[in-house]
């Protein structure tokens, strides 16, 4: 609650023309927004772009923030929309592909990130499997999983961001977890 009040005070100061105020908002939330974007898009470069576009959109539409929701929920909503728009653009550009969309997304998510030499092969393999499984989820389920696992938002916060009933959020997460377990089992995760 104290953070939320501080965020609202920052927004008010930003509306009066204080450029430092919005910078503090960016500093406070950029990691969380990046984590959300990375979880949804699966690629660091795309996540960076989406995060930047999220804060730029928030800055341009600062007057449109009516204070009905928390600043964090508002930022998350913008970030989710940015990620969805990026995914649609990517889908339009690659319309000629015959492969299953879920597999395409899984392939994107499976692109290896920078690998530390200290990591074991098994650890790397499991990460790749989890990335592919999350990427293969339908967008509506992936949103909930990313917000819960990456952002560590509460069910109520996810409900506010996505404008969904609380029970819908929980049921979607339950369905996502079932599908993840199935895919991890299908990808041969030995420990599952």
């Amino acid at each position: 609650m104290e953070t939320a009040t501080s965020d609202e005070q920052m927004v008010e100061r930003a509306l009066t023309g204080d450029p430092e105020a919005f910078g503090q908002i960016v500093q406070r939330w950029e990691r969380r927004i990046f984590a959300l974007a990375f979880g949804m898009l699966g690629r660091e470069e795309d996540a960076r772009d989406a995060t930047q576009e999220t804060f730029l959109a928030a800055f341009r539409n600062l007057r449109g923030f009516r204070g009905e929701a928390r600043v964090s929920s508002w930022l998350h909503r913008i970030a989710v929309n940015q990620c969805i728009t990026r995914q649609r653009r990517a889908k339009v550009r690659s319309e000629t592909g015959l492969e299953d969309e879920a597999e395409k997304n899984a392939a994107v998510f499976a692109l290896p990130a920078e690998v530390s030499p200290a990591r074991t092969a098994e650890h790397q393999e499991r990460s790749v499997a989890v990335r592919r499984a999350v990427g293969a989820l339908p967008p509506d389920l992936r949103q909930v999983v990313v917000m819960k696992e990456f952002e560590e938002l509460t069910f109520q916060e996810i409900s506010d961001v996505l404008d969904l009933p609380l029970s819908t959020v929980k049921s979607r997460l339950y369905t996502a977890l079932r599908q993840l377990q199935l895919r991890l089992h299908k990808f041969g995760d030995a420990k599952m």
């Binding site: 960016v26 960076r48 800055f59 728009t85 990335r131 069910f155 377990q181 420990k191």
Partner: protein, 242 residues
């Protein structure tokens, strides 16, 4: 591991995820814990879901830990914030264009074609409407070649014809004064002189202006007013005999 789809599903799925992520209050947690002791399905799913959750957390920590989120994003966003004039009205135009651009980017090919065709059709209809609006109206057909007069034109016309007629009469009278047939007898000559002098006198003296009725009559006689040819023509009182 047994296939997930073969495992029975309990009706308390939502309570399971609430308990799994630690958002249940004490009473709810205690209740679900006791339920799990009796329900094999929930107990099995809780175990599996916990492993999935741990795997995702491990991936998240690894992915976010290897990616530094600091200067590149902050500096670019901060630059944009500092260089842009906040809340300037032209932003509204940019967002509308950006929204339109985004619409065409994400819309399928058939929708773009349909939009372009609709725009072309609209422009064609507007051009047709504008061309019809600027066309000069067709003139109303007039009744023959008859001139249209107002009252002053009418009076002027009548007066002109009267003057012409008087001039003609004067000329005729002057010509009739020294005629051979009439020159033979003094009386005839005298009568002719009288007539001529009368005619000259009458023509030289200014006539009284015709009243309205007399003008209309004269105009009908002279053919200025159509449809009144059958009326009795007006006769000058001093018309010389020929």
């Amino acid at each position: 591991m047994r296939n997930m789809n073969e495992r029975p599903v309990c009706h308390r799925a939502e309570d399971l995820v609430t308990y799994l992520y630690g958002e249940a209050n004490k009473a709810e947690a205690r209740d679900f814990a006791s339920h799990m002791q009796r329900c094999d399905a929930c107990r099995a799913e809780f175990t599996v879901f916990h492993q999935v959750h741990d795997s995702i957390v491990a991936w998240r920590n690894e992915a976010l830990g290897s990616v530094l989120v600091s200067e590149p994003i902050k500096s670019s966003v901060a630059q944009t914030v500092s260089h842009s004039t906040p809340f300037v009205q032209p932003e509204r135009k940019l967002s509308a264009l950006a929204a339109l651009r985004q619409f065409f980017t994400v819309s399928p090919l058939w929708l773009r074609g349909a939009t372009a065709f609709a725009g072309f059709l609209l422009c064609a209809l507007m051009g047709l409407a504008i061309s019809r609006f600027w066309q000069t109206p067709v003139e109303v057909a007039k009744n023959g070649n008859e001139p249209q007069f107002n009252q002053s034109d009418f009076d002027r016309k009548v007066q002109k014809r009267v003057d012409e007629e008087l001039a003609r009469q004067r000329k005729v009278a002057e010509e009739n004064v020294p005629t051979p047939e009439l020159a033979g007898t003094p009386n005839t000559r005298k009568n002719g002189n009288q007539l001529a002098s009368t005619a000259v006198r009458s023509n030289s003296q200014p006539r009284n202006r015709l009243n309205k009725q007399e003008r209309e009559q004269l105009a009908a006689d002279l053919g200025l007013i159509p449809g009144r040819e059958d009326e009795t023509p007006f006769v000058f009182p001093d018309e010389p005999q020929q």
